[in-house]
Symmetry: C2
Subunit: 226 residues, 2 copies
DNA sequence: ACCGAAATTTAGTCATGGCTAAATTATATA
DNA sequence: TATATAATTTAGCCATGACTAAATTTCGGT
């Protein structure tokens, strides 16, 4: 008597996750944006969106965007949890560098059973963030985000702790890792040029200059005045 | 100028692995056997075999069996290595019971990168066997098998060490685990009925009776005379 | 040597998830 | 407000890997 629960394909899961992430960044989940995010053609996106709409996982306003239904968001959150839990596991347990975990997790996330997910979560002590500082949704689907500011918004003299690094590109991640610009790192803003100029910060004993696009990917919590 | 290396699909990998395992048990890799092993129709097997033959991964004698070419065996061994390494990791690192690791590994094996494979092998200290005692092929494709006898072949009074448990069925595996009949366990044969009758053995302090089909799945090394 | 059963292959179909090219709709600009 | 451009959808195609049903081949028994 229960619902026919056809298991979703990896492709469907990737679409739902992409919609969730795009919407989470305040952008509209348009056909083009999803096509770019997923690396497929716009026609493919339209095609899949129609299937997901039939399954009541998204609401589709043709020629406008797409929204996740509660059922769709639930699944998206499961996949995001898989992904970030796997990133944490690969990084913390197996020592993969943080620029490599995303690609591996992207493949593993669709193949992770509930049972294995639980074992991994327990092994890690139920972590709340992944190696990039992205929040790991709980099993119940609760997401806790903390950072309010990016490095690009801080004034000279500000002290802050890195909470999340939004950069995805492996080369950028390796570069930031080398500079010590990782979650938990404390830093002081030395100077920042106006109108999108570079930001100069001190991390530990090192001084670093970051151009504005990169600085806007680094989310921080401002430390209380000393 | 290098070969076009089209990556194989998970389905192709499963077929190659199945052919390798069937051949390894001395049986002919016929269409029917492969269909039963893989849980697909005979027509599907014929279909895939033809594709693999085009790729020079198998040699197909129509209406007779199929054989792996050296190239096909190389890939099969990689997948078997993935599978068993993953079983060992899930069991030893994450504490999954030995009757659950097979199903998980079957999904993960196709999605394991070379890099991650190396990290897992290093984490485990390059294990030579999986939780069932099946040999893990080396990266170079070397397989070391040791057991020569099964429990069903031993005479009363024989002392032996379990090397490998060939049973696949989760219920059987749970039962054997409960009895302590796992790799490394030492046992003494107390009695064995002729003509396929049950075998009585002592493991630790417990006495156990096993019917012959199950006893033939338990591979042992006979201990030297005391 | 033949015949029938079993195994295998062939033929034709379907679902999935890509793609390109063409048609359609929305929107920004003049 | 009309129109050019951009975004989106539609239409039609392809590869993969399943399936069933029908044809074909092999092989054991007489
Ligand atoms: Mn994915
Ligand atoms: Mn991440
Ligand atoms: Mn498999
Ligand atoms: Mn095994």
């Amino acid at each position: 008597m229960a619902n026919k629960i056809a298991p979703l394909s990896a492709a469907m899961e990737d679409y739902l996750k992409a919609i969730y992430l795009v919407r989470g960044s305040a952008a509209a989940a348009t056909t083009m944006v999803l096509a770019a995010t997923l690396g497929v053609s716009a026609a493919s996106v339209t095609n899949m969106i129609k299937k997901l709409a039939v399954l009541k996982l998204v609401r589709h306003a043709p020629y406008h965007g797409v929204e996740l239904t509660p059922a769709g968001e639930k699944i998206a959150l499961e996949i995001v949890r898989h992904h970030r839990l796997l990133e944490a596991f690969l990084h913390d347990a197996l020592g993969l560098p943080w620029d490599e975990v995303h690609g591996e997790a992207h493949k593993l996330e669709h193949v992770l059973s509930d049972n294995l997910e639980d074992h991994i979560a327990e092994y890690l002590g139920d972590p709340s963030v992944d190696p990039h500082g992205d929040p790991i949704p709980t099993k119940a689907g609760v997401v806790v985000t903390s950072a309010q500011h990016t490095l690009a918004e801080l004034a000279p003299g500000a002290r802050a702790v890195i909470v999340r690094v939004g950069a995805q590109d492996p080369a950028h991640l390796r570069y930031l890792r080398e500079l010590g610009l990782v979650p938990q790192a404390r830093l002081v803003v030395l100077a920042c040029a106006p109108f999108g100029g570079p930001v100069r910060v001190r991390v530990r004993t090192r001084q670093v200059a970051l151009d504005e696009p990169l600085a806007r990917q680094i989310w921080v919590n401002v430390a209380r005045k000393k």
